[in-house]
């Protein structure tokens, strides 16, 4: 069921309206002549709605960076001869994220839960509270190798303030079907007066569009989604871990590009005066060699195989169990980022063959 219809022109007008008061982030197209295909998209701040490319395939990095930046200051402190003063800080600013595909919407839900599970992380929540999320549905697999449908993440019913569904085909979509996910989203979009009531024909067109979409997704994963955690539990001692780890650089790229990986490191920085400083957090990854290293040199996960297993267990089982969100949304960013061409879904399938 659609809540409204809006024309592309009206929609972009609403985005330009947002730009008067806040930062707008969305998919921006970049030419990369030496890549195949010679174009990529990145979530970046825009200064005009026209810079957004809502027909994008996929963004190289997920929108995670706007909620959990690669690096952020948690505390500013001042050291004195007889003590210290410290205050928590945030650079959170009102931001609209325009153009998020269902997979990334699912991932944002996971992050929301991880950073509120058993106590809020105020630094995350400060950003989250100021974030308006506008999803846009994808009509077909954005690129070969994705397994979002296997992960039940190619359709999203939550995680957005507004969800847009392109109506009609072709590159130049002129109208979007709209679903509202929050009063905030509704208020923003309706304020321009450009929302129309969906007609019966619109509903039919939207349903047909969804059917075409569903039919366009194949399946890659050989294990049914609901059986994946149990299959993974049985594969704990598989040789596949060690065999695959021989190729693993422990470079952590797979962690860092993953939209649901949220582990971080904390460290202090001092100015040259040694009086002023900051406590910062930075993205970390469980594939990195020192992730579980403690003083004295003991490493609780010293082998690349144990780290690889840990990551995939988190993706397929543990994050889901802990947060109720999805640990893996099938976006295949890890597979694309891996210069050893280690593929998460391929590992799932190899393990399934064994156990």
């Amino acid at each position: 069921m659609l809540d409204a219809i809006i024309s592309t022109r009206e929609l972009l007008g609403r985005v330009d309206e947002l730009l008067r008061t806040q930062r707008v982030i969305g998919p921006v197209r970049r030419d990369v002549p030496d890549a195949t295909p010679p174009v990529r998209w990145f979530y970046e701040p825009v200064s005009s709605a026209r810079q957004l490319d809502l027909g994008f395939a996929y963004c190289v990095y997920s929108p995670k960076q706007y909620l959990l930046p690669p690096r952020e200051t948690l505390l500013e402190f001042h050291r004195t001869p007889d003590g210290f003063s410290a205050r928590p800080v945030s650079d959170a600013q009102p931001t609209a994220l325009i153009g998020v595909h269902p997979c990334d919407l699912h991932a944002l839900v996971t992050l929301d839960r991880a950073f509120s599970h058993n106590g809020d992380d105020e630094h995350y929540q400060a950003r989250r509270r100021r974030l308006l999320i506008v999803g846009v549905d994808c009509g077909k697999p954005c690129t070969p190798g994705v397994y979002c449908a296997d992960m039940r993440a190619n359709v999203a019913d939550e995680g957005f303030d507004v969800m847009l569904q392109p109506l009609g085909a072709g590159a130049d979509v002129e109208r979007f079907g709209v679903r509202f996910g929050s009063p905030r989203g509704r208020a923003w979009l309706e304020a321009g007066g450009g929302c129309e009531r969906p007609t019966a024909a619109d509903e039919r067109a939207a349903d047909a569009w969804q059917e075409r979409k569903e039919a366009s997704f194949g399946r890659t994963l050989t294990t049914a989604h609901e059986d994946l955690p149990a299959m993974m539990a049985r594969s704990y001692d598989s040789l596949i871990w060690e065999a695959t780890a021989r190729r693993c650089y422990s470079c952590g790229s797979c962690n860092l590009v993953c939209p649901t990986c949220y582990c971080f490191d904390v460290h202090d920085e001092l100015d040259l005066s040694l009086q002023e400083g900051r406590r910062c957090r930075e993205w970390d990854g469980c594939q990195l060699q020192d992730f579980a290293l403690v003083a004295g040199g003991h490493n609780f996960r010293s082998k690349a195989a144990a780290r690889l297993r840990h990551r995939l267990m988190r993706k397929s089982k543990w994050i889901g169990e802990r947060t109720g969100g999805k640990g893996c949304v099938g976006c295949a960013r890890c597979d694309r980022a891996c210069t050893a061409r280690i593929s998460t879904v391929e590992i799932y399938n190899q393990l399934a063959e064994e156990v």
């Binding site: 990369v32 030496d34 890549a35 990529r40 990145f42 190289v60 990095y61 960076q65 690669p70 690096r71 021989r246 190729r247 693993c248 650089y249 422990s250 470079c251 952590g252 790229s253 860092l256 590009v257 001092l270 100015d271 040259l272 005066s273 040694l274 930075e282 993205w283 990854g285 990195l288 060699q289 020192d290 690349a304 694309r336 980022a337 210069t339 050893a340 061409r341």
Partner: protein, 248 residues
Amino acid sequence: MKPRIAIFSLTSCEGCSLAILELENELLDLLGAVEIVNFREGMTERSWDIDVGFVDGAVSTPEDEREVTRYRACCKTLVAIGACACLGGVNTLKNRQEMESYRTYVYGERARWFPTTDARPISAVVKVDYELPGCPMNNREFLRLVKCLLAGVPFALPNYAVCVECKKAGNLCLYERGQMCLGPVTRAGCNAICPHYGSKCEACRGLLGAEALAAARLNMREIWKVDEERVLADLRLYGAYQGDGSKP
């Protein structure tokens, strides 16, 4: 008492010393926090009672050997800066040629006036307390080391690959652009500056470890179907000598 700091150059382009002068925003604060006593690029007055000595350049002549031994003797803490001082650097290209031929090539008739040896990192000759690799070294990392020394806490290089910083910087991986980047096997600390500007990493900060190198050999052969030796030859450009003493 401000720590007394000196900066020395052996056989090098002195780019690492210049990188310090390029710390424009922090240079004044730095000069406020330390006393610079012996710095050929920056000043002329010399003094020989030194808390921290930074040395760039490889040891490549008998004269270098004598000099670096002297630096060691007069510096409480000795820091090797740059790929030459830490890994041998590009100077080591000469190690793979006949000594007589390159001496004559460089110095012609007067070659016998210029004795030379294999180019080696400083640690091959004297004990080194810290190393800041890179060609040139990263001056932010230099600053971090200085702060650690001032605060009296140990300094450590990042123990992860360049890819980590490359990802944090939001770059498109060069493998997606058909380049065999050495980021996955190279120690981070440069903010992935080369990949950021579109050129592949050439491992000027040295290898991350034997495991990553073994993975690289396997992947080059089996996944990328390229001549592993040719790709790994890049490693030797800056890093003929690696931290663990191995020669890749």
